[in-house]
């Protein structure tokens, strides 16, 4: 039983927290700008590499590098929106999807050009796990990631429900025509959507680096589970996306637990779980668990 918690459940929650932070951005961009942002995974990669440079140049720990990574990644996202997405805003949104597919490639090749393609880590050395109640062993990095994600969720909830901009975002996400009739500034809302989406993506990227390592394909490989999490939570429901991310992360890890002597599925097919969940959601409940929009 303790093995189950130590080696499957806690890593599952950690992975889920990373998916969750990425999926918030996917869900909000889909809800407010109405397109599936294919470059979101590579935005995470960009954030992780900004933090890596900060760690190298300033000699600070990766967690302290997060604010720098967030700020720079937000600028990158705002620039990408201005240069590549805004000119296509009046067209059918599928053109923006194609553009974001290309932006993903631009992000990745720039990262490969500047930082090279070898895997990197923020810090070397073994961290001793924290032992609670004699048998519950949790790695420090897992505690950090899980607690930070819980804190971010609370702040996000407060932002969406108690600030003017948060309420505006929910309104635009629910009904853009009505929101513009009410005199809400669409471009300002879009800017804030990018800031939140890119900021959380950068944090998620740093967390991936803390949990495993930093490499140039890391973000692209997370795109499928993030899309699945956003759909599971309901498009335009950021808190739903967090729940969706956690469910998918936990499901991926738990499915490899040997419940009946051998694991339910082979670990090499772990990333198929997200796809299966995505298909089930699209077939049976396209609005997601929390009644998101059906675009």
């Amino acid at each position: 039983m303790m093995d189950f918690i130590n080696f499957y459940l806690v890593p599952g929650i950690t992975l889920g927290a990373i998916y969750a932070l990425g999926a918030v951005g996917v869900s909000m961009i889909f809800g407010i700008l109405r397109f599936a942002h294919f470059a979101h995974g590579d935005l995470m990669t960009v954030g992780a590499y900004f933090a890596l440079s900060a760690v190298w140049l300033l000699g600070i720990p990766a967690l302290a590098a997060i604010p720098i990574a967030v700020a720079l990644t937000c600028l990158v996202a705002l620039f990408a929106d201005r240069a590549f997405y805004k000119p296509l805003r009046q067209l059918p949104t599928i053109y923006t999807v194609i553009a974001s597919f290309g932006v993903a490639l631009i992000f990745r090749s720039v990262v490969q050009l500047f930082w090279g393609t070898e895997s990197q880590v923020y810090s070397v050395g073994f961290q001793k796990p924290i032992v609670l109640f004699d048998s519950l062993r949790i790695a420090t990095r897992h505690i950090q990631i899980i607690l930070a994600t819980a804190g971010i969720t609370l702040v996000l909830h407060w932002f969406l429900h108690h600030t003017q901009m948060g309420k505006t975002m929910r309104a635009v996400s629910d009904d853009p025509a009505l929101a513009s009739v009410a005199g809400l500034d669409p471009e300002k809302t879009i800017r804030w959507t990018w800031i939140i989406g890119a900021g959380l993506a950068a944090i998620a990227g740093v967390f991936v680096g803390l949990d495993t390592d930093v490499h140039t394909m890391m973000g692209w490989n997370l795109l499928l589970p993030m899309f699945a999490a956003a759909l599971l939570g309901g498009i335009g429901k950021p808190l739903g996306a967090i729940a969706g991310g956690l469910i998918i992360g936990i499901a991926e890890e738990i499915c490899t637990y040997p419940f009946f002597g051998e694991s339910l599925i082979s670990p090499s097919y772990k990333s198929a779980i997200a796809f299966v969940i995505m298909l089930l959601i699209l077939i049976f409940r396209p609005r997601g668990l929390f009644k998101g929009r059906l675009l």
């Binding site: 999807v97 090749s109 899309f227 077939i283």
Partner: protein
């Protein structure tokens, strides 16, 4: 000698250009005719390539088969299996906005990649399937077999083009364009939007599978590395949009022109000093990514913009 070297470079260029033309025409059936975004082209291509490879290669203990069957059988199986995968995914996604199909199609490509790497009994895993035959191999060798293959590829391109052209001009193509441009209007005159969209996605998927089969025969060896999404999916999108989505001539022209640019940048970057050579492939990717943005913003109709055939309506007094 110089001249024949150039000639054979040209032939190998046109073989790959032909394979990309088939992919591009197939993508045009999905996106150009029906407005369906497919981000998993590499998946359908891999299904086709592996089916053809397993059907036609000689018997081996490394994986299931090979069945040593004629290449035509391999092409038919490749198209059929790829079409079935396309049908399954289209059934689920076409009733939703195109973005959902885009997200699901990435998933399809990912699952197929996983299966190809892990199911060693079927595909020999990362070692790949080898000894895949080329057509008429027993009569021609070396450069002659390359010539024969060139003719073979372009016969398939011609067939694909003919199919795409007939579909485009047919009443079916007209309905597809109506759905693409105004779904509600098409539905209001009683067209079954979902069924038409599924059909266009499946027909496109079939030809993507055929293109995969062609490349397996050309390289005579197929491993998971050859299904790199960047080189297949992304390049095909750039080709179609630059050439002109909706226009079959544009699809072929786009495939050849972008493949020419892509091959030329490789020649140029080979001249760079060695420490730049490793970085040059990233520069190429960056440039092709920026090129797509340029085309989308300034040049959206492409080189050969779509020209819908005139309606031949007789006036009734």
């Amino acid at each position: 000698m110089e001249l024949s070297g150039i000639l054979f470079y040209l032939i190998s260029f046109l073989i790959m250009g032909g394979i990309y033309s088939v992919i591009c025409l197939a993508l045009n059936m999905q996106w150009g005719f029906g407005g369906l975004f497919n981000a998993g082209i590499a998946g359908f291509y891999a299904v086709g390539a592996y089916s053809a490879a397993i059907i036609t290669s000689a018997n081996t203990p490394n994986h299931v088969g090979g069945f040593d069957l004629p290449i035509v059988v391999g092409l038919v199986v490749a198209g059929t299996l790829s079409g079935i995968v396309g049908w399954a995914i289209a059934r689920i996604c076409v009733r939703l906005k195109a973005d959902y199909l885009a997200m699901a199609s990435i998933g399809i490509a990912e699952i197929i990649r996983l299966a190809v790497i892990n199911e060693e009994w079927l595909t020999n895993g990362s070692l790949g399937v080898s000894r895949i035959p080329r057509p008429l191999e027993e009569f021609f060798t070396g450069r002659e077999s390359e010539m024969v293959f060139f003719v073979f590829v372009w016969i398939i391109v011609a067939i694909t083009f003919w199919v795409a052209h007939r579909l485009y001009k047919s009443p079916w193509g007209r309905v597809m364009r109506a759905i693409r441009d105004n779904e509600a209007a098409a539905e209001s005159v009683g067209k079954d939007v979902q069924s038409f969209r599924t059909q266009s996605f499946v027909i496109g998927a079939i030809f993507m599978g055929v293109a995969g089969a062609l490349s397996a025969h050309y390289f005579k060896f197929f491993s998971p590395d050859a299904t790199e999404p960047l080189l297949i999916t992304f390049l095909a999108w750039v080709m179609l949009i630059a050439g002109g989505s909706g226009n079959n001539k544009g699809a072929v022209a786009g495939a050849l022109i972008i493949w020419a640019i892509w091959s030329m940048t490789e020649i140029i970057t080979q001249q760079l000093p060695p420490d730049w050579a490793t970085r040059s492939s990233y520069i190429r990717m960056l440039l092709i990514g920026l090129f797509l943005q340029f085309v989308l913003q300034r040049f959206r109709a492409g080189l050969f913009p779509e020209k819908a055939p005139k309606l031949n309506v007789k006036s009734h007094g």
